[in-house]
Amino acid sequence: MSWSPRVKTLMRSLLLAGAITIILLVVLFPVFWMVLTSFKTRLQTFENPPLFIFPPTLEAYSSVLNLAAALGSSAVAEVTSWGGLVYPYVINSGIVGIGNVFLSLALGVPAAYALSRLNVRGKDNIAFWMLSLRFAPGIAIAIPLFLFFRILHLFNTYQGLILAYTSFNVPFVVWIVRSFLQDMPVDLEESAMVDGYTRFGAFTRVTLPLLKPALAVAGIFSLIFSWNEFLFALVLTSDKTATFPVYISRFYSGMAINWGAFMASAAVGIIPVLVLTLLMQRYITKGLTMGAIKG
């Protein structure tokens, strides 16, 4: 039996389409399930078989965002099992994340410049040492820092957590910016220096503008790493400065989890990251693969 080439191509593309659809279903289902559950009433989240079609309610969002006042209903205040609103934690995550991005860039960019453009003894070894910190076991940092921070009054402060997060974000920034600089021709900078600019002038006028994509990649990832980080936040903060992941983990402690409220706050907490991902898709792919395919 022989197929005409056209039928063959058609079958192949149908197979490909089918396979890709299945992959996307698997990849997106948990996210879809989270969003769907966030629109259920508390009782509906426990139903068996699970509900796929139902009239959506904002009950869960009300309980974690305190929309009650805005929507003029008062019956939702007791819905959250442990009675916390998500705002303060999202704000804490924002403060720590943004603070850390600035600190990591301020420390990492000059270091990356020195490691790729200036004469420093053993700079390759320093660069690889920094990369190897990407493998540092968090728990072996978190516990000693917990002990140090209690003495230094940095426990449960924004500064403390921001400082702790430099342990993985500074190496990341250095690595990303250094690989960009290595791919960038030195000639531009050198000719600017021949034209009378100082090295600093050449850097700010010539190199820095070309470095914008690198700063975007490094900044976005530092922000997302801080935003998602759980172990350090769990060990180094308590109520006042706890971040969004710590808030999420507390849904677990209740006797019966309020799944709807949890899914609603999870959705609130990951929306910023997803929006950033979709807007900055180009940079995200670059950042993800940089560590793996660049030496």
Binding site: P30, P50, G138, A140, F230, F262, T277
Partner: protein
């Protein structure tokens, strides 16, 4: 003036480098040194004034305890199965979507969503889906005519649950990395081979796989290190239980330190983990250095 400038130039490197090196020494190396130091002592936060030096007693105690051996086995099982599944699925998906097709851009963007979500959120979503009474995974199993499973009731299934969540979240990392690696393979290699009408499996064995190997090894090492340190998913999906039946090394150390205040033991576990990580990091650096001198860039 020229000599002044020369001097500035010479000092600039160390000057720009030292702030970050100093900070990293404080937030990584100092904790590591302190961890090793603590591991040689018996130190419990409930008795902060007692700090007897015990040499390698903690190591002997830990390495001969069946509890900790179980924990190491858990870490090994999770790491080996999660990373191999991620590698196989990741490579398959990358090969599948590396060819041109419509909506390729959208598909690639949607694929990276899982790894952007906080692991703690991923853990709780899976915890909800794994529920016996009302979980959607058991519902699907039932629809397929399979028995419902009490996912979180026994250690082996609970570990499988943790592995599945990790595989869901990190397979895209493998895919994205391999896609980047695939796109770096020169197209004319395939063209030259197709003149000799080589079969696709032959092309894969002789061109794709060997040229992808450096990227594969680096990606595997990254994932290996991440899943050996696994903490978030275990914390939220199983809380290490039942007993320590699903604890990983990081989680066990966390429990020892912050539930039992047993910092000597916790630091011993951390030191062991640290040694493993140093080995992995050095293997990675060896690969990267070889890639660079091998003229691949």
């Amino acid at each position: 003036m020229a000599r002044f400038r020369e001097k500035v130039e010479r000092l600039a490197g160390p000057l720009l480098l030292s702030p970050s090196v100093a900070v990293l020494l404080v937030v990584t190396i100092a904790p590591f040194v302190y961890t090793v130091w603590l591991s040689l002592h018996n130190f419990n936060l409930s008795y902060p004034n007692l700090f007897p030096f015990v040499g390698f007693d903690n190591y002997v105690r830990i390495l001969t305890s069946s509890e900790f051996n179980g924990v190491m086995v858990n870490s090994a099982i999770i790491t080996i199965s999660a990373v191999s599944l991620e590698f196989l699925f990741g490579l398959a998906v990358a090969l599948l979507i590396s060819r041109e097709f419509r909506f390729q851009g959208i598909v690639r963007t949607l694929l990276i969503i899982p790894m952007m979500i906080a692991p703690i959120v991923v853990g709780l979503i899976f915890l909800y889906m794994f529920q016996y009474q009302y979980g959607v995974i058991d519902y699907f199993l039932q629809l397929a005519g399979l028995p419902r499973l009490l996912w979180l009731g026994n250690p082996s299934l609970a570990i499988l649950g943790v592995i599945l969540a990790d595989v869901w979240q990190w397979t895209p990392f493998m895919t994205v990395t391999m896609l980047a690696g695939l796109s770096a393979i020169p197209k004319d290699l395939y063209e030259a081979a197709s003149i000799d009408s080589a079969s696709p499996p032959f092309l894969f064995r002789k061109i794709t796989f060997p040229l992808l190997l450096p990227v594969i090894s680096v990606a595997l090492l990254f994932r290996l290190a991440d899943s050996l340190r696994l903490f978030d998913l275990v914390y939220i999906i199983t809380n290490g239980g039942p007993g320590f039946g699903t604890s990983t090394m990081s989680f066990y150390s966390f429990k020892q330190a912050l539930s039992y205040f047993n910092l000597g033991i916790a630091s011993t576990v951390d030191t062991i983990l640290l040694i493993i990580m140093i080995v992995i990091a050095n293997v990675l650096i060896y690969f990267l250095r070889r890639m660079r001198s091998g003229g691949s860039r």
